[in-house]
Point group: C2
Chain length 446, copies 2
């Protein structure tokens, strides 16, 4: 089984009747998602994407990835939010969080345009010095401030270094299929373009060109990734039964937790390669459910390191949270603990034991300790650290998110709150058309 | 002013009477902290540390740092929790989160022994291949599982590479001043040792040898760091008045937020170099306050990137949180936005404007948007990105934490919950002495 939800450590925290009674809500939400009758139904393209994706474009992505691998040392991906979190999560999970530092046959992959930091941008330019660079700008409209600024800088750099003609071969644009200034400009300039589909929101876009091109450049098998997602799609669309679907089980428990006042969900992993997967998940759930004054607050930790940080709180602090633990079942790296003559630490009883086994034993011990402390735990067991399993896991979280949002009673596919800061920022920066708000906002800042 | 708390964006959320009424509690807690009459008073060594530190050892730290700089390419710091978070936070804040990637005159600094991941350990060994290595193991007892395993591995590596005599010059040990197996072993082996003071807990230890040696190796001026902390200590010990002390103001507001049911504090920064500072802060507050079923849950974000992730939730999700924003006032890096002939993004109205100004405008716009959404904001304005200011900020958070814990009614200086997972882990791993629990725990996992 590629992915299994072990409910053993949360079941005791839930009343049998509660669990039974939420089934009808989940069935209704599952139906609304699949028949497209709910709010946000313009953005359901991700549901069938793992099978209905554009095969011609998919082939082009693979060709472009090979070209990029051959022609650069540094691949700069320019995008914010859903335009970078998915690919970064997959690259780090399947390769390494130290992917850029380790020796490899593929280019370094750096992310830009996801902040407005002069320090970050300057440092990235330093890293690019004397090295061959390709870029992939990812923006539906082309006007989002953060990636737009980074694109200005890197396009100028490439044109200076390689000339306009040379730069053309090194700039890849993922944007709207027809509309938008970036699409028009790219066509005129002759850049190869890929599509951000109209019916797929940013946080659900990891399996579109948005995620796939950078992922492929890092050497990940994107066919296997899609196959995993497709198999998950078959499994999770087939039934809304909590008993039969681990995906719906996840929806059930997390909503029941929320109703109990456990308003923070902590996503837990025992490997630092999951750090960015946690961040991807936080966007997916935070943006989908955090609205109308509702929603579980998504937080994350990497154990065992954070057992020496947030561990104390989770064990014994305010009882307003629960944990969802991701564990990769197979052992990916052999590393037996060495015997030590001196035995300063008294750990010779572990000599020869695999570090992975100790890590998993720490996980088991922690789960038991935390439930004893009153923090419910769900355990998501992933078969292995393969592209196939990763695709399966990504789809699991996406599908659960869609259903869960409807159970919560929100539109899981919009993000109206993201506009608020942008409007204020534009007004304060004096963008034409925002003159009326400028003075008012400035007065409030005095 | 090195550090200023701007209360403008939280004051409207607090009743004038509430603010006045918490003054007496804060004065009492401030007194208890300073006269050492409260719970956990064995661990108050950090309060006067910035002035009373061991000057002889401080000089030795600087000598050792110079020796390390000259003799290695990679400096591996082995420790978990408070033994690595402080130094990593300072190194990244004052140098860069990409410190190891950027060209520099100082060694790379990697952290090990803060997890049980075979993948992490194997990758770090790959990074060390063909390069000169020094290590600093930081563990009071020497028996904590994570660093102990890493120390086994790296000591063996150094002894194989440089021989026992050569390795001796490359191993630096920060541990108990007299007791513990690691101290005894180090003395016998002839390693240079530094002290984890008895009266300073891990999460308050950044200004002891625990933090100072790795920080100094990265090129940071530790004299300035200590001076900043010393000046903060003078300022914050002098008065418990909310009006007069920004540190006590922070204590007041966060406790009033907690009492309103705003049970999550989100620490916000607009620069990725603050990512690990956020993590240090999460340990400091999570471990100090998260006990007896109480405490604010500490979370963190880096904007503007996370405005496209958790931003939606903070703007409009469940109203159970507030934000504390850290902003560096001075501009550290010049980076005017380039003019672009094509103006694809319509941003030419910003051409020539400093990126840092845009970033700070995004911050101002966001604060106004979030308070309009019902999320109170405190703004901590730090003068600059210097070692002096950093020392000031670290002490600000430490002193506030001590007082805040007493206001909350907990012992801010213990961490009983951290033991729970360790006991279970040892029992499940079959450590001698834990036989009784093993069978019982295994039965619960079936």
């Amino acid at each position: 089984m590629t992915l299994k939800l072990n409910e053993k450590y949360i079941r005791p925290f839930v009343d049998e009747k509660e669990l039974a009674s939420i089934q009808s809500e989940i069935s209704a939400a599952h139906k609304v998602l699949l028949d497209g009758s709910g709010e946000g139904n313009d953005f359901l393209g991700w549901v069938d994407l793992p099978k209905n994706y554009d095969k011609e474009e998919f082939a082009r992505i693979k060709v472009a990835a090979e070209k990029i691998k051959k022609s650069c040392d540094v691949f700069v991906v320019i995008g914010i939010g859903g335009s970078y979190l998915g690919s970064r999560a997959v690259i780090e999970f399947l390769n390494s969080p130290l992917y850029n530092t380790l020796k490899k046959d593929t280019p370094d992959v750096y992310f830009a345009g996801c902040n407005i930091s002069p320090a970050s941008l300057k440092e990235l330019l330093q890293i690019c010095e004397g090295r061959d660079v390709c870029i992939n700008v990812i923006s539906k409209s082309g006007t989002t401030t953060e990636p737009a600024i980074a694109f200005r800088v890197f396009r100028a750099l490439l044109e200076k270094k390689y000339g306009v003609d040379g730069a053309r071969e090194r700039i890849f644009v993922t944007t709207d299929k027809a509309r938008g200034t970036l699409k028009q400009f790219s066509d005129e300039a002759g850049y190869e373009t890929f599509v951000v589909p109209d019916n797929v929101g940013g946080r659900f876009s990891v399996l579109t060109a948005v995620g796939l091109l950078p992922i492929a450049v890092s050497g990940v098998d994107i066919d296997a990734l899609m196959k995993g997602a497709a198999d998950a799609s078959d499994a999770y669309k087939a039934t809304s039964s909590i008993e039969e679907s681990d995906c719906m089980k996840y929806v059930a428990y997390r909503n029941l937790m929320y109703r109990q006042g456990k308003a923070t969900e902590v996503l837990v992993s025992y490997e630092s390669y999951a750090t960015m997967l946690n961040e991807w998940w936080k966007q997916l759930y935070g943006e989908s459910e955090g609205k109308d004054k509702k929603g579980l607050f998504p937080a994350s930790v990497i154990f065992s390191t954070d057992l020496h940080s947030l561990g104390q709180f989770i064990q014994d602090g305010k009882r307003n949270l629960f944990e969802t633990v991701i564990s990769v079942k197979s052992r990916e790296v052999d590393f037996p603990i060495p015997y030590d003559e001196a035995n300063v630490d008294g750990l010779n009883f572990l000599a020869g034991v695999e570090l992975d086994e100790v890590n998993k034993t720490a996980m088991k011990g922690t789960i038991l300790a935390h439930i004893d402390g009153g923090t419910p735990n769900m355990l998501l067991e992933l078969e292995d650290r393969s592209a196939y399993s990763m695709g399966y896991l990504l789809y699991f979280f996406e599908f659960a998110c869609g259903v869960s949002g409807y159970v919560l009673g929100v539109n899981p596919f919009n993000q109206p709150g993201v506009e608020a800061y942008k409007k204020n920022m534009f007004a304060l920066l004096g963008k034409p058309g925002y003159e009326a708000q400028k003075a008012e906002l400035e007065a409030r800042l005095k």
